[in-house]
């Protein structure tokens, strides 16, 4: 049995919001009987994008995380509804019944991902329901897919075993797997959002100050070497995909006979060490 999944590449999301706008365009002001009452024209949206910035000026980056209904296979909202006002279709899509769901404001809190939006006018909890009305009419993908300029979003309808394999092969992750909800929305390069880096800029003074290219920088933890890089033309180095709160690290920088070490404690945020002069 093939079921729908959504795969989002965090490294390719540029926060253009085309997916957000396309979803609002599709859902606001339009009733799709059996699928959805009209969504609100303004206010909280069923697709939203979160930002995470890392580092310090000038070594920074930003990652964007589009979030929507995860179409969980073990959806807490379905359990909370209890009465069939939220159902899971055979193709994996989770749908809130626009009739039965009336007045069920309590369901908004049932989603641990905050993906359910309350529509005050319709008195309805609402979600991004994978554009099921379009898929059922033969559309190859929901609207967020073709509007994405970087093809960061892919909709795939395959069997669960194949999807699991693909997730393993391509290092896809779901949000908060510890909740056991088994989401059908997968993320590639999620480390850009939830992991940290340690970086710095190595310089040297020989009359004038210069960036030091080609210096060797090693990352060690508890004396054990983890990684090794050469600085670039700006003397920059960066060790990425480190877990937050993963403890203390040693950075050892060397170039010829010159060397220095820096000890850092990695907490919740990435660390840019700034200029590191190699005397």
């Amino acid at each position: 049995m093939n079921r729908w999944n959504l795969i989002i590449d965090v490294a390719l999301c540029e926060n253009c919001n085309n997916c957000v706008l396309a979803a609002r365009d599709e859902l606001a002001g339009n009733a799709y009987p059996g699928y959805s009452a009209p969504h609100a024209a303004q206010g909280p949206a069923v697709i939203r994008i979160e930002r995470r910035t890392r580092g310090a000026t000038p070594m920074v980056d930003a990652a964007y995380l589009p979030r929507m209904c995860n179409h969980c296979d073990d959806a807490p909202c379905i359990r909370a509804a209890g009465d069939g006002s939220i159902t899971k279709r055979a193709d994996g899509i989770v749908l809130i019944d626009p009739q039965k769901g009336k007045g069920r404001r309590d369901l908004v809190a049932a989603c641990p991902y905050g993906a359910i939006v309350w529509n005050e006018q319709e008195q309805l909890p609402q979600t991004w329901f994978f554009d099921a009305h379009l898929l059922d009419a033969g559309a190859p993908a929901p609207r967020c897919v073709p509007v994405c300029p970087t093809q960061a979003i892919e909709a795939v309808k395959i069997d669960d075993t194949s999807m699991q394999r693909r997730a393993a092969d391509e290092d896809l992750r779901v949000l908060e797997p510890e909740l056991g909800t088994r989401p059908r929305v997968w993320y590639r390069n999620l480390w850009r959002f939830d992991q940290c880096f340690i970086g710095g800029s190595v310089s040297t003074v020989d009359g004038v100050e210069d960036c030091l290219e080609g210096a060797t920088v090693e990352l060690l933890q508890g004396g054990k070497p983890l990684d090794r890089r050469a600085t670039d033309a700006f003397g920059d180095f960066r060790f990425d995909r480190l877990a937050p709160r993963s403890g203390s690290y040693t950075i050892r920088i060397s170039a010829g006979y010159r060397a220095r070490t820096v000890e850092v404690q990695l907490l919740d945020e990435s660390i840019y060490l700034g200029k590191l002069e190699l005397a």
């Binding site: 085309n18 396309a22 609002r24 310090a56 000026t57 300029p149 970087t150 100050e209 210069d210 700006f234």
Partner: protein
Amino acid sequence: MAQRAGGGGKVRVQRLVLSVILRALSPMINGAARRHPDFRALLARHDALIQIQLRDGSIARHYEVRGGKVRSRAGLAEQPQVVMSFKDVATALAMMSPNADMGIVVHAAKNFKVMVIGPDHLATWWMQTLNAMAKAGLRFGTPMPDGTQRYTNLTNGGPLFVYVRSGRIVRVTPIEYDSHDAPPWTIRARGREFTPRRVGLVAPHALSVKSTTYSPQRVPYPMKRADFDPNGERNPQNRGKSGYVRISWEEAIDIVAGEIRRQKRVHGAGSICIPTSSHHQWGNVGYYLSSLLRFGNLIGFTRMAANPDSWEGWYWGAMHHWGHSQRVGITGNYGTIEDCLQNAEQIVFWSSDPESTYGGYMGFEGTQRRLWAKQLGIEFIHIDPHYNPTAQLFGGRWIPIRPGTDAALAIAIMYVWIKEDLFDHKYVIEHTTGFHEWRAYVMGDEDGVPKTPEWQEAETGVPARDARALARLWAKRKTYLSAGAAGTGFGGAGRGATGAQWARCMVMIMGMQGLGKPGINMGGMMSGTPVDHEFYFPGYADGGISGELQWNGNAVNNYQKMPHVLTVNPVRQLVPRQQFPEAIIQGKAKGYLWDGLAPEIQFAPYEYPMPGYPRIHMIYKYGGSYFSTLTESNRMVEAYRHESIEFVVNQSIWQEGEAQFADVILPACTNLERWDIGEWGSGGGYLQHGFNGVNHRVIVLQHKCIEPLGESKPDYEIFSLVLQRLGLGAMFTEGCSDLDWVKRVFDASDLPAHVSWKKFCRKGYFVVPAEAESMRPPVNFRWFAEGRMKDINEPQPLPSQWAEEFGKGLQTPSGKLEFVPENLKRHDPDNPERPVVNRYRPSWEGPRTPGLAQRFPLQMIATHSRYSFHTHADGKQGTTNDITDHRVAVAGHYFWVARMNDLDARERGILHRDLVKVWNDRGAVVCAADVSPMVARGTVKCFESSSEYVMIEVAGERVEIGGCMSTLTPSRPQSQGTSGMAPNSCLVQVEAWRGAQEFIRARSRQVGDPRAGLA
């Protein structure tokens, strides 16, 4: 004799044919009316007696239209209301032909060979009715399986399918090209092949048009300011205060037409000014350089002379080093996508953020190409006060720089190149002039100050070691320079006090590295795709239906290809756009021309008022607010309320921005509610071949997807109604509806050779086949770098503008790239603010401004918005409001976003999303703070072009809460002797807004009106 007899016979036959046609006309009209309800309704609009005749009366037939039916009789009527009179039978036949040659028709009209005499509204209606007959029964759009009708349209952010059910828009989607559309091009580079996606990658604001079309802020019906009486007290001092009452279209048109008459009578030609916004809706017919210009020319008006607001430093500075005046000082881009992918090793994005500014209109068409560049290992570098969305997506070294200091970094880079011998000597010797003089300045031989990386650090905040590393890397790698919004120039750091210095440096930098050699050129993959550049379809600035031959590109092609009656504005008086408030309030202003015809024109000042012309007493505002694209915009409030301004009419789609200052508001509709035609990304005029920023050339019939909402009307129709009151409706329309003009544009282009009108009406778009690989344009500047004749197909410079031999060299006096411009030496030799040798001078408003910099220690830059297009798609309670990088809702009000550095915020006790007051001596705007390390210290980064202007008073303080950052920017020209604007030289202070709590409390009591409880 035989010949004459034959001629006489021919005339006899022609007379017979004409009589038959005239007799057949009424059954044809009645038949069409029976079959087609729209046509029936048009015919039934008036009862009238019409006569068509030869001037001598020898053939005549009159038509009685009554209750939507026509009866005709031969001969002359006693008292026809409208007479259509042809000089001779040949003219009559040529004009009555179903596929009349418009060259002959227009010639006949211009030379009185045909005249239509009678009440203008009836004459206009009768001509439009005859034209409409031919298109009755045409079918538009494509029926879809779900019962919707799929139409097409075009926006500033790209083309769309528009799906309509029961007269209501259901959804809009990008156009996905089908198997019948022409296939795309493929570029081969470094062993790989790259082919663009088969979908138009539109900008976010394009996807918001349904929401803005159905905006609660639409002007629903004509309105008059409550205490404005055109025959009594006008109360100009109350503009923006007194509220509105609903009036009928009849009354509104009466007032507007009456005022136009009165202005001409009382003050004479030139007392009416028609300020336009920077941009309006898309379409060759409805555009401001088309219908509006035709309208303006027919009433006579003082032109608001625009400054090159998207170019600035390129026009006033860079142009003198390398020419390209007909591109306003930036360069073309031919062949550069292919060259960059094949040969470049690095792209330096300098004040260039194509993921936000889209090369103007191209949406995300360039994004895929930049991703290809990354896949090939081409390195990116970003020099910008903001780690902008382009940097965020693609990564690469960010060099944060203080706004307005870019020229210092550029000069230091050139210092390193000279000092370490890292530039292309041969190129400099063969293809440039003035290098020694420039070198003397850079090295400090001239002024004793070597422009070292250490020297620039104090100005720019860029560590000397980084500047040195950048210079070395640049010299080592084949580098494309993406400067400004288009990559080949445009805006960016060019919109500040030092804008010309920066743009001039960008040209010189490329001059030192061999501009035009493989892999060394201008561009950031934003333009230069291998599309067919010769397929003719005019851009929006190519004249449209204007009939104007000077202030757009009409004379080049459109006027011949689409013959239409010439229109002329008899008023030579100009008023400078940025000094408009002074012109009104003080009654005088001075400006310098923006005219790309030749580099010399900008040196000539002009003054307002011009002898022989009156001051401005009436404002006909059109096309959306310009408060947010002006500078120091609060000046406009006083100007609007000035007693010399007797009448203000605002023809507006939305109740927003400065519409609140009008005496009469005329509700216009959006381009989803009227007919038009256009090509994606095609500006024409100064933006020649601008369509090569997109991957597929797409020409779109902009269907009238729905009926105009409320009582709104198409701009074209409003102009037509006003002019009918002045007897000029037939002159304005040439008997054409907007759809008739669309057909004329279609016929005048290369489209008919590829697609029938009928098919185009249904499908709604046409993809121009890509250029064959063997026919692709050569690389821009390659000819120059190789010392050959120019081999680029752009008709510029003008034949007289080549230094010596036609086709050789650049449009400079020497024909070479000039480090020290001869034009400045000749025409502006002693201007300290624009020195001949491009010396670095700190901004006149910046960190080096004594006194001011201490009080206002932050520099605000307001760049083109990412999620709206100028004021379009912003505000209006539309969907872009909910994008938190665009606006942030606090207590139900959507505040504009001010981005600032985390350390600057911490010093001020400001947290992410706090409401902050951004202010200086010119005003105060409340914004939502966006705090991050992605903004250089000392910088506040906003967008310009908010559509809202909302002044409120809270806690005894007047603040603007609509996001009109232009209220804070200086109105001083970029440098003396220019009319360049410098909005990005703007010192401000930012603090937590102390009125926030009171505002939130008041709002929670009364939701909906931003002024609620605060007044």
